[in-house]
């Protein structure tokens, strides 16, 4: 019994010292987290408050109106919403298969010596500032598309509405391709990690049963990571929907809904970026904030959706391994 006392008196000070640091850390981290919540709430509140005159004036009709006119002071979101949906979906349509292929190549198929440098390059692509990509879009990609690719598509596939219209340096097509370039590295690096996470026993099992490498990928790896790939795609979608600067630089910010990929168009983010400085009327400013609010809601839904899916996948994986 007596030996317990000194031990306690020895352990107390050593326990007490880190406790202050502990407390500081928890306090700081807690404050940071609390601040984040405050900022998030304040952000939504402020955007909604800015948008209020437009919400009051146009209500939900804003979502289906094609007007955007500072002279008559009538505003609607239909055409930038259309532009956002088209550019993001086309970008995903091109980017996701490519990115999954890259992920598969880097995790399963590439020679070992190639894996690290190519992985680094893919991640480097994700780090290129969007304004730089946009500049390249204006100077190089736009003119190339407008002068070579689009005339070719028009000559050979002009009967499809998507490829009708006059080729131009700015328009939907360069915007879609710029977004593709931005989405590929995100989805590629996530899918690479997903493929790496597939348990080796499963893959070896498939091989042992006589599956070829492709059969192993198709029947074991892809089903294992399919949920994760959906989540990665949604993250890519969030990136494409929200991108402003690079899209503004190449899309040619115009009004109306056009079927042709060659025609200039506009997205919600790009319209906000192009017009927020120097709005002609109070209501135009409010309408831009309304657009921002719609964007915010879409991003929230996308992110929550991605998280729900990845949680469900994790549960399923745990269930299957147990």
């Amino acid at each position: 019994m007596a030996t317990d006392l000194p031990r306690q008196s020895i352990t107390l000070p050593t326990r007490g010292r880190p406790r202050i640091g502990d407390l500081g850390l928890r306090g700081l981290a807690g404050a940071a987290a609390a601040l984040l919540v405050v900022v998030m709430v304040a952000l939504v509140y402020e955007v909604a408050r800015e948008a209020w005159p437009s919400i009051r004036e146009f209500g939900l009709g804003f979502l289906i109106s094609e007007d955007w006119n500072a002279v008559t002071n009538k505003f609607g979101a239909l055409d930038p919403m259309w532009g956002t949906v088209v550019t993001s979906l086309v970008a995903l349509l091109i980017a996701v298969p490519m990115a999954v292929a890259i992920g598969l190549f880097l995790s399963e198929l590439a020679p070992r010596a190639l894996r690290t440098p190519v992985t680094l390059l893919v991640e480097l692509l994700a780090a290129v500032p969007s304004v730089v990509l946009g500049l390249w879009g204006i100077l190089v990609m736009g003119p190339f598309l407008g002068q070579h690719v689009e005339p070719f598509l028009k000559d050979h596939f002009g009967f499809i509405p998507l490829f009708s219209g006059y080729p131009s340096n700015q328009g939907l097509l360069p915007a879609c391709l710029i977004l593709t370039i931005m989405v590929v590295p995100i989805v590629a690096s996530i899918s690479r990690e997903l493929f790496l996470s597939v348990p080796g026993e499963l893959k070896q099992g498939a091989m042992a049963l006589g599956a070829t490498r492709w059969e192993m990928v198709r029947s074991v790896s892809i089903p294992q990571v399919s949920g994760g790939l959906v989540a990665a795609t949604m993250l890519g979608f969030g990136r494409a929907v929200g991108e402003a600067i690079a899209v503004t630089q190449v899309i040619g910010g115009t009004l109306g809904i056009h079927w042709s990929l060659f025609e200039p168009a506009d997205t919600m983010a790009s319209r906000i970026a192009a017009q927020y400085a120097g709005t002609a009327t109070h209501l135009q400013r409010a309408s831009l904030a309304y657009l921002a609010l719609i964007l915010l809601v879409i991003s929230l839904i996308t992110n929550i959706g991605a998280q729900l899916i990845s949680v469900r996948i994790q549960r399923r994986m745990q269930g299957s391994s147990a």
């Binding site: 407390l23 928890r26 306090g27 807690g30 008559t72 204006i138 006059y166 340096n169 115009t254």
Partner: protein
């Protein structure tokens, strides 16, 4: 026994820790919040703008006056000791900045709309530079100085004329061989004084344009491609065969762009020279109640007048904590400062405008 004691001891400590943690995080958050609110509150309430010292005047706005401003800045500092800082963010951005009093003066090529004037609360608009908006184009095989009339220009920007070989364009340009190139109209996607001048002119000469589009810093162009700022228009026009757009006059020379000659009310095609802009300013002397002097489409009595001329305005609050410094700088800009203009393509202000400006400037108080 001792084990049990230790356990309850630990629990108590954990509870204390949790309490302290809560209090600490609460304190930290409130400190951070107070800091954030404090700074935003002060920027919202001080009407001083850019800096506290009256040795510094901060302005923002029109890119059209930016070249002139870059001459005024060093010259004025030399003679008065007051530093001028100017951000060429565009006319619309300048109006926003002075409305929120983030700067000491704004600059815009478009007068304030009634909406903007109400938001700006007793702002004065003082014409302090004369300039012009010029139509530029890029058509392979067509040289500089193509002739256009206002109605033809309106038809092009409404999508009624879509080819450079259109008979309406050919009729104005006998002897010029025009290719069958598709016309790509290019306009400003940001709020712009040049857009205002351009669409005011089209509204003045084309009833169709007036009723379908109208005049604004951000009009709803029915067709064409948007580009940001003067430099964006210049780049888009240069890289697109068949493009037509509009820029501030100073950019024609600096970007070596083609300029189109516009027919004025007298039926002549004057170049957008200092002389032709001066002639437009001399023909229009009426000052509107809001202080603006619209120069587009001057009457036929001025045969040499360029039809898309414009004043650029300083937008200043009637009550400013830096009233004295502001008055001195504005007076300099409309008098001594004008001497830099002609070399850069800005004609000197007419005497009547200078006289009127002086009465306006005298209204500024602290």
């Amino acid at each position: 026994m001792i084990l049990h004691d230790e356990k309850s001891d630990m629990e108590m400590r954990r509870m204390q820790r949790a309490k302290r943690f809560g209090a600490l995080s609460l304190a930290l958050t409130s400190v951070l919040l107070a800091a954030a609110c404090g700074s935003s509150g002060s920027s919202g309430t001080t009407s001083g703008g850019g800096g506290g010292s009256s040795n510094v005047l901060v302005g923002a706005g029109s890119t059209l006056v930016a070249p002139l401003m870059s001459q005024w800045e060093p010259d004025y500092t030399k003679s008065s000791g007051v530093t001028i800082t100017y951000g060429a963010v565009g006319s619309g951005g300048g109006i926003d900045a002075i409305t929120s009093r983030a700067v000491d003066f704004g600059a815009s090529d478009a007068p304030l709309s009634s909406d903007q004037a109400a938001a700006c609360k007793t702002c004065l608009q003082i014409p302090w530079a004369l300039a012009a908006t010029v139509v530029t184009y890029n058509v392979k095989g067509v040289d500089d100085k193509l002739k256009l009339t206002g109605p033809v220009l309106a038809d092009i920007f409404m999508g009624n004329i879509t080819s450079w070989s259109d008979p309406k364009i050919a009729a104005l340009n006998a002897g010029v061989s025009l290719p069958d190139t598709h016309i790509t109209p290019i306009y400003r996607s940001d709020g712009s004084g040049d857009s205002y001048v351009f669409t005011s002119y089209l509204s003045a000469v084309s009833p169709d344009w007036q009723s379908k589009v109208g005049a604004s810093t951000q009009p709803a162009f029915p067709t064409g491609t948007g580009a940001e700022k003067n430099s964006g228009i210049a780049a888009a026009v240069q890289s697109t065969d068949g493009a037509i757009g509009y820029v501030a006059v100073a950019y024609i020379a600096s970007e070596s762009l083609n300029e189109a000659l516009l027919q004025n009310a007298a039926g002549k095609y004057p170049e957008p020279s200092v002389k032709a802009i001066t002639a437009a300013a001399a023909a229009v002397t009426e000052i509107q109640p809001d202080g603006s002097v619209p120069l587009v489409n001057p009457p036929a009595s001025a045969p040499d007048a360029y039809p898309m001329s414009t004043y650029s305005y300083a937008i200043v609050p009637q009550s400013s904590p830096k009233a004295e410094a502001l008055k001195a700088f504005l007076t300099y800009a409309i008098t001594d400062g004008q001497s830099f203009g002609p070399d850069l393509g800005y004609p000197a202000l007419p005497d009547a405008i200078v006289t009127n400006d002086k009465t306006e400037i005298a209204k500024i108080t602290t």
